[in-house]
């Protein structure tokens, strides 16, 4: 009886053997991770020339601001933001750099204009140097973006009124600043 029972036990073990194959594979995993911070890069001005050159500002017959002033747009290329972003434009009036005193009555020493940056947002960011508030100066883009930004200036107006005449100066200048900011 004892021998018989041992034989049955061996047989039972042998029958279970096919199940071993299922457990012969081992799997382990690990992860690799990293992050990309929200960031913006400003790019460069195409052609490298960062000056809007308007030439002579005053009409030589009237002494008042010319009405046909214009300058080619500037293109900033290579800009990007890796997340949603804001574009902000700011500008300072073109002011006489040598004649810094208060001009006499009937004269002005600065010229206002509207600077705009387009290509980044549906509505261009724009800034009027003569306006008390510039609500359109900052525009939001909801997605990451890379592309050219076109900066232009227009809408020139003598500070203080169009009847004023501009004081003579070899250098009237202002500054346009475009800022890209990654938004959280």
């Amino acid at each position: 009886m004892r021998k018989l029972s041992i034989g049955v036990a061996v047989l039972a073990t042998a029958l279970a053997a096919p199940a071993f194959a299922q457990s012969s594979t081992s799997t382990k995993s690990f992860t690799v991770q990293g992050n990309v911070p929200a960031m913006c890069a400003g790019g460069t001005i195409v052609g490298g020339n960062g000056t809007f050159d308007l030439g002579v500002l005053a009409d030589t017959t009237t002494g008042q601001l010319r009405t046909d002033l214009s300058a080619p747009d500037k293109v900033i290329s290579g800009s990007f933001c890796s997340s949603r972003s804001t574009i902000t434009i700011a500008a300072t009036p073109m002011a006489a750099q040598n004649f810094t005193a208060t001009p006499p009555s009937g004269f002005a020493r600065s010229v206002n204009y509207v600077a705009s940056a387009s290509g980044w947002t549906t509505t261009p960011a724009s800034f009027d140097t003569g306006a008390a508030a510039n609500t359109a100066a900052t525009q939001i883009r909801a997605t990451a973006f890379t592309g050219d930004i076109t900066v232009g200036i227009a809408g020139f107006a003598t500070s203080g009124g169009s009847t004023l005449r501009l004081v003579a100066d070899t250098n009237y200048s202002g500054l346009v600043t475009v800022t890209l900011t990654a938004a959280p």
């Binding site: 071993f20 991770q33 992050n35």
Partner: protein, 189 residues
């Protein structure tokens, strides 16, 4: 004293007993059998997480684009198979941004790399992911050659050549990929 004498007598009587047993011996054989199941066991990956940190350059000529990373190594110590004819497989998934929105033109949300598991057979299990910029087709699998003997070894998984399709700018976010190592019987050809 009388009691002691009786005990000694009993002891003497007991001594001849083994000789009596020999005359009634019967011999039998009992087999002892067993099984060793075919098993492969991979060691626990060390480290369990590779943190590359910041994936994109934050300044310089390559601002926004993938950083050049050195090789990253993970060991699976004391891995073994107790049978002949085993094979190592590596399945790798590219690092993908957790934000699965399709990135705008010029951007990517996937970082590809090469994963190679060595130390098992003549040829390594190697795979290079080829995820597209939008993160599709992120998973790929590579299998090494067959190990013809039972083997115990420390396996080494090396991650290298981290690249982005088209060298695009990476969108901001957290990125994660997974490497699955499998050791088991060689696939039947």
């Amino acid at each position: 004293m009388k009691r002691i004498g009786q005990i000694l007598l009993l002891a003497l009587a007991a001594l001849p007993a083994p000789a009596l047993a020999q005359s009634a011996t019967a011999t039998g054989t009992v087999g002892v059998g067993g099984q060793v199941a075919p098993v492969c066991i991979l060691g626990t990956p060390n480290p369990a997480v590779i943190n590359l940190g910041t994936l994109a350059n934050t300044s310089g000529a390559r601002v926004g684009r993938i950083v050049t990373f050195s090789e990253q190594n993970v060991t699976l110590p004391s891995s073994f198979c107790n049978f002949a004819g085993s094979q190592l497989t590596v399945q790798a998934t590219a690092l993908l941004s957790t934000d699965d929105t399709t990135p705008p033109a010029g951007f990517a949300r996937a970082v590809n790399y090469t994963a190679s598991a060595s130390g098992w057979a003549a040829s390594n299990a190697t795979v290079t992911t080829t995820a597209l910029a939008d993160g599709t087709a992120a998973t790929a699998t590579g299998t090494g050659s067959v190990q013809p003997l039972p083997k115990l070894a420390d396996l080494l998984v090396t991650l290298s050549d981290f690249t982005v399709t088209g060298d695009a700018i990476l969108v901001a976010g957290n990125y994660s990929g997974t490497i699955v190592v499998t050791l088991g019987p060689a696939a039947i050809p």
